[in-house]
């Protein structure tokens, strides 16, 4: 479904240039849920932004659903592939109602029957019609993230790109959103790409994952291997140990991996 070959992204010019993504090759199969894991600055979000078309300054090859993508995307691409962002407090227009937020993608793509589509997608994300004419400030963080997911789903895409979709939420709300994403994936046969720093979230929602560090792919593994702690690379093992909670001796053993 998604094929990335030798993707490179850098920011800045000349001596100030920073290479955020340094030659990434990976592919995600149709219907798969794929996790992209790393610490801040590892380039994981930049990969996602390049795939989604938000970052147009990259080299390499990106193919989605068999079609090679250029820096600028056609409208049809966004019908196929939608994105959900980290912070539902920042990603929804504060002065648009839920109805208007969901109507906009429908209008852009010239789809018919907006009313029924909005009604259906709201039920789909577990909000119901009562929420349709509310403003984002009248919703909790979890409800806002449901609206953001509904906005992505209203076009009935086949690929959903998720950038840390639960890290701004409380753990009890995180559980609800993870359950929602699992159900939506099963019902709509979605392909998910989930960017996160949280290995436990990946273990819960994904089939396969790639670990990134400083713009490079450290290793790819299945979630089954992750669960057994069967990582091959020392960097992944360190990340796993750090996720298990605080331990004085473990903290001492950490080092930087270039």
């Amino acid at each position: 479904m998604i094929d990335i070959q030798d993707l490179r992204v850098s920011f800045g010019d000349g001596g100030d240039a920073v290479t955020a993504v340094d030659g990434i090759t990976l592919s995600v199969r149709e219907g798969e849920s794929f996790g992209l894991v790393g610490e801040s600055g590892s380039g994981k979000s930049t990969v996602l932004r390049a795939v989604s078309g938000l970052n147009d300054d990259w080299t390499g090859r990106i193919a989605v659903a068999g079609a090679d993508q250029g820096p600028k995307r056609q409208k049809a691409f966004y019908k196929l592939c939608q994105m959900v962002f980290q912070d539902p407090y920042g990603s929804l227009h504060p002065r648009h109602t839920v109805d208007r937020i969901l109507a906009e993608p429908i209008a852009i793509h010239g789809l018919d029957d907006a009313d029924a589509r909005i009604d259906r997608v709201l039920r789909d994300v577990g909000l119901g019609p009562a929420f349709r004419f509310r403003y984002p400030h009248q919703l909790s963080g979890g409800q806002r993230q449901r609206v953001a997911i509904a906005r992505a789903l209203v076009l009935e895409p086949r690929v959903l790109l998720l950038d840390e979709p639960t890290s701004a939420l409380d753990v009890s709300v995180q559980a609800e959103i993870l359950n929602l994403l699992r159900r939506l994936r099963a019902e709509h046969g979605l392909t998910l790409v989930l960017v996160t720093h949280n290995l436990a979230v990946v273990a819960n929602l994904c089939d396969r994952l790639a670990v990134m560090n400083r713009g490079r792919l450290v290793e790819e593994m299945t979630v089954e291997e992750l669960r057994r702690g069967a990582a091959r690379e020392p960097y992944t093992l360190q990340l796993l140990r750090a996720s298990l909670g605080y331990d004085r001796a473990t903290a001492e053993s950490f080092r930087d991996y270039a």
Binding site: L205, Y246, R248, E252
Partner: protein, 281 residues
């Protein structure tokens, strides 16, 4: 002061804010005592955990109102202390580390000067002595090249280093109690562990008491000695950190169950159904 006086006594602490519909209580009768230990306060957003931490330093902004049957530090009543006395206590005796170094450091002053200033405000030391102490403190929080970092501005350092600088600044007056409000939430896991190790060592070396406010149950359970779990402004459960897995309150159990775990097979997570009775218990 005797050895028997607890470092901090809090009894029936309440924080309320006036709203159009009457007073809204953010903290509703919290009581605990703290010795020279690491106490974790855990809860979700809006549970009142940060307000509890702030009210100890009387940093609740007006029109918020703080009341308590007793709020005493080393036997001294904090609610009766004059503003001048509070300025003396803040930083010197009780220090606070906030969540995000980006917003807590002065952007137009080098980090070294900020740390030295924190020392000079609370002692009669001269500039040279303050600089020497600041460099020592930067080394104590394991910054590799203190001389170089001393002359940096906050935007020139990473998040993890910024948080270490904050901790250095808070610890340089040698406080008896450190209140850390989500001190590591903005950091990567490995850096988080390293910063916690620094706090851990400083606590045990200096015999400092610490209140660690966090939303991260596993982190608090592995780092602290004792835990208070807050829900809607009240402490619903308190336990030894090592016994968190045996927690009894349905809220605590629900929170623990809703956490995804690396070694569990994928599947729906139990969702917390909130019982109105928890508001009163």
């Amino acid at each position: 002061m005797t050895d028997k006086t607890p470092l901090l006594e809090v009894s029936n602490l309440r924080v309320a804010f006036p709203t159009r519909t009457g007073m809204a209580e953010a903290v509703r009768g919290v009581s605990f005592t703290l010795g020279r230990e690491k106490l974790g306060i855990v809860g979700e957003s809006g549970s009142g955990k940060s307000m509890t931490g702030r009210s100890i330093l009387r940093l609740v902004p007006p029109p918020g109102r703080v009341t308590a049957d007793r709020l005493a530090f080393n036997g001294e009543d904090l609610l009766a202390a004059s503003p001048r006395r509070m300025r003396d206590i803040r930083g010197r005796r009780i220090a606070m580390v906030m969540q995000d170094p980006k917003y807590s450091l002065n952007p137009v002053m080098t980090v070294g000067r900020q740390i030295a200033e924190a020392y000079r405000v609370h002692s009669k030391a001269g500039a040279a002595e303050a600089k020497r102490r600041a460099l020592e403190m930067l080394a104590a929080v394991r910054i590799r090249d203190p001389e170089r970092v001393y002359d940096r501005y906050p935007h020139e350092v990473s998040g993890g280093m910024g948080q270490r600088i904050m901790i250095a600044m808070m610890l340089i007056p040698d406080p008896d109690l450190l209140i850390a409000d989500e001190p590591t939430s903005a950091l990567d896991v490995t850096v988080q562990m390293q910063v916690l190790a620094i706090l851990d060592d400083l606590c045990s070396q200096r015999g400092m008491g610490m209140i660690f406010v966090s939303h991260d149950l596993n982190l608090v359970a592995s780092f602290c000695d004792r835990i208070l779990i807050m829900y809607a402004g009240r402490v619903v459960e308190s336990c030894r950190a090592s016994e968190l897995h045996a927690a009894r309150h349905p809220y605590t159990r629900g929170l623990l169950a809703s956490l995804p775990k690396i070694d569990e097979p994928p599947g729906d997570l139990p969702v917390l159904s909130r019982d109105p009775a928890w508001l009163e218990g």
